[in-house]
């Protein structure tokens, strides 16, 4: 007998189910293929749990309203694809500097520009890291199955709440639109993190940007704390300060809250990495082709391992460096013309030869292409 919690589900749907399980109560967005189902399902499901959905006039407004919802105390999310991700960038930077927890889903499609609206790609990887101006902290997660989409959406909310920062969930069209069996975990088995809020007795002295804490407590508007929020550099109370010292302290804290917690934030899976000649590093939908090819290569007696990144940013530098010392060659497989590749080469290039299996024509990378690449480099 099939258990009640086993379902056939699309990636975009698993994302919404995961978000609801994490406690999402607010969604603001603007429709765009291949992310639209996330907005549609949020519109359908949120009012049923007492939450709010709004379709804004554009993605800039979608990002702004998402931040507004979070400041009013609700767990908030928005979803988009490449062109909309570009539009959101200014307000994403605002959320990073003002430390507003929220989740931004980008179901990547072929670009640049309107590009290939219905075709998969992983070409927003660098935009997630560097899309908004200025130095800033980034957490970006990427799933490669439907169950992982569910789990990482919850994880994205948990990281957002724990570190008071926007978190990216980077899907690709393959994962967003693929249907697969998923066993939904029991709510009692899901760990949920809620933002730390100030105590009643902190009214009047509340510091929304208390530098003595790695992650300051977050009050919601309307609860009696009356604080100020600005995208200008600010002091501990949130008031603008045009001051080098204040800027240094603030910047080092918001970068530090991520950099000092890499072991908590960096998630990945490894396959056959104990004994290998060649490592393939991949992520998202592409990792599926890589795994299927590597299983076949293993059957043929080839010592090929896989590193599947689930946290794209911050980059899993420590582990990739370690692994690079155990192999002669690394292949980076991704649906773009070499974005993560540069990061891997930066970290591993001194220890081994790093090459790219990249593709950006709207087609997924196939297992055969991976096998051919293995042949070529081994």
């Amino acid at each position: 007998m099939v258990s009640k919690n086993v379902k056939l589900m699309q990636g975009n749907e698993a994302c919404v189910e995961g978000a609801l399980a994490a406690g999402m109560k607010f969604f603001a967005g603007y429709p765009i293929t291949p992310s639209t189902e996330i907005a549609e399902l949020s519109a359908q499901k949120l009012p049923r749990v007492g939450g709010k959905f709004i379709q804004m006039e554009d993605e800039i407004a979608g990002m702004a309203a998402t931040i507004g919802g979070a400041l009013a105390g609700l767990k908030s999310m928005t979803a988009t694809s490449g062109p909309g991700f570009s539009l959101k960038q200014e307000n994403i930077g605002y959320a990073m500097l003002t430390e507003i927890p929220c989740v931004i889903v980008d179901v990547q499609r072929g670009g640049p520009s309107t590009g290939l609206p219905t075709a998969p790609s992983q070409s927003d990887v660098m935009q997630a890291k560097w899309g908004t101006h200025g130095d800033h902290p980034v957490i970006a997660l990427t799933p490669s199955s439907i169950r992982e989409t569910y789990d990482l959406t919850i994880q994205a909310f948990n990281f957002a709440e724990k570190y008071r920062t926007p978190v990216f969930l980077m899907l690709d069209e393959i994962i967003g639109h693929m249907r697969e069996k998923i066993e939904i975990p029991d709510p009692s088995d899901i760990e949920i993190f809620d933002r730390v809020t100030p105590e009643e007795n902190e009214k009047g002295s509340y510091k929304a940007y208390d530098n003595s804490l790695e992650v300051p407590k977050m009050a919601a508007f309307g609860e009696g704390f009356r604080f100020h929020v600005t995208g200008l550099m600010h002091d501990e109370f949130g008031f603008p300060k045009n001051d080098t010292k204040v800027t240094e302290v603030l910047m080092s804290r918001i970068m530090g809250k991520i950099d000092n917690n890499l072991d908590d934030i960096i998630l990945y899976d490894e396959y056959y990495t104990e004994d290998m000649d060649l490592l393939i590093l991949s992520y998202g939908g592409t990792a599926r082709s890589v795994l299927s090819a590597v299983r076949e290569a293993q059957r043929a007696g080839k010592k090929v391992g896989v590193f599947k990144a689930k946290t794209l940013w911050p980059f899993p530098e420590k582990r990739v460096k370690e692994l690079s010392k155990t192999v002669n060659k690394i292949i980076v497989a991704e649906m773009n013309l070499g974005q993560y590749f540069y990061e891997v080469d930066r970290v591993a290039g001194k220890n081994c030869e790093v090459s790219l299996l990249g593709k950006a024509n709207g087609e997924p990378i196939t297992p055969t292409e991976v096998l051919n690449k293995i042949e070529e480099v081994l």
């Binding site: 607010f26 709010k52 800039i60 702004a64 508007f221 100020h228 929020v229 600005t230």
Partner: protein, 275 residues
């Protein structure tokens, strides 16, 4: 130090003053009008949220002792929409400049009005981009000078009140910093309207607009507001030739229409019960 008035003590962050505005800037008069209106209506300051974009005008919330949010250029209304929908118990006020509200933020302005979401928007219209040093805005009159209109502005202006009315705002008024008491009354009525309200407050920027266009000092610019405007009710009784060329001030729209958050909550109530 002079003792501050009760109004200032009750509504402003004393340790954030003095403000950054130039001597003679009109923006402070509108900011005071907002505080007067809030105080008169007796709102619980814990439940008042003031949101702005970027510009000289948008610096006002930083001085005001409420829940305050200084956002990105043009986007205040989009942030405010999120705050208001997430917590409809909050009294949400948006402060914006003519550039902030009608150029970069024009799209959000018309859509907030269309939704009739319960947000009171006060536009500090000084007919120029003050903060960036005097470039022409969508309300700089045709032919006037700006640093980016060195030979006279060839663009046309928005009539902010007619734009807001056309887009669906349920309260629309225009006042000036010369007519401070009347402006304050408009803000009060706007705050009491359940729906999207807009008050265009005509302000003055002596530093850039005034100097560039030889409008004289702040006092002369204030007198000019007196001479070039006409109250709507007064204008209605005058022959057309006496009204021509004057800027009409007063209340243009004050009507009742279903409000966005209330309509959304009807959906929540209905479907939460069904599940």
């Amino acid at each position: 130090m002079a003792v501050a008035s009760k109004l200032i003590e009750n509504n402003f962050r004393m340790n954030r003053l003095p403000h950054i505005w130039c001597p003679g800037c009109g923006h402070g008069i509108i900011m005071r009008g907002i505080a007067e209106a809030i105080e008169k209506l007796g709102y619980d300051k814990q439940k008042v949220c003031i949101i702005s974009g970027i510009g000289c005008s948008s610096r006002a919330p930083g001085y005001m002792d409420f829940n305050t949010l200084h956002t990105t250029h043009g986007r205040a209304l989009a942030f405010a929409t999120g705050v208001k929908l997430a917590n409809p118990d909050l009294k949400v006020i948006v402060i914006s400049g003519d550039g902030d509200a009608t150029a970069i933020g024009g799209n959000h302005l018309i859509h907030a009005a269309r939704r009739n979401i319960d947000i009171t928007t006060i536009i500090f219209n000084n007919n120029i981009y003050g903060m960036t040093g005097g470039q022409y805005s969508p309300t700089t009159p045709h032919g006037e000078l700006g640093t980016t209109a060195p030979y006279g502005n060839v663009d046309n202006v928005f009539d902010i009140c007619r734009l807001a009315e056309g887009a669906g705002a349920t309260y629309v008024a225009r006042g000036t910093v010369y007519h401070a008491k009347q402006l304050e009354k408009n803000i009060e009525n706007a705050l009491e309207n359940k729906g999207f309200s807009i008050v265009e407050g005509i302000s003055i920027c002596p530093t850039y607009y005034g100097r560039k266009n030889r409008k004289g000092d702040a006092a002369e610019m204030m007198m000019n507001l007196k001479d070039t405007t006409l109250d709507k009710k007064v204008a209605a009784k005058l022959p057309p030739e006496k009204v021509e060329g004057k800027l009409i001030i007063g209340e243009f729209v004050n009507k009742t229409y279903p409000e966005f958050c209330e309509e959304y909550h009807k959906v929540v109530d209905k479907f939460m019960k069904e599940d």
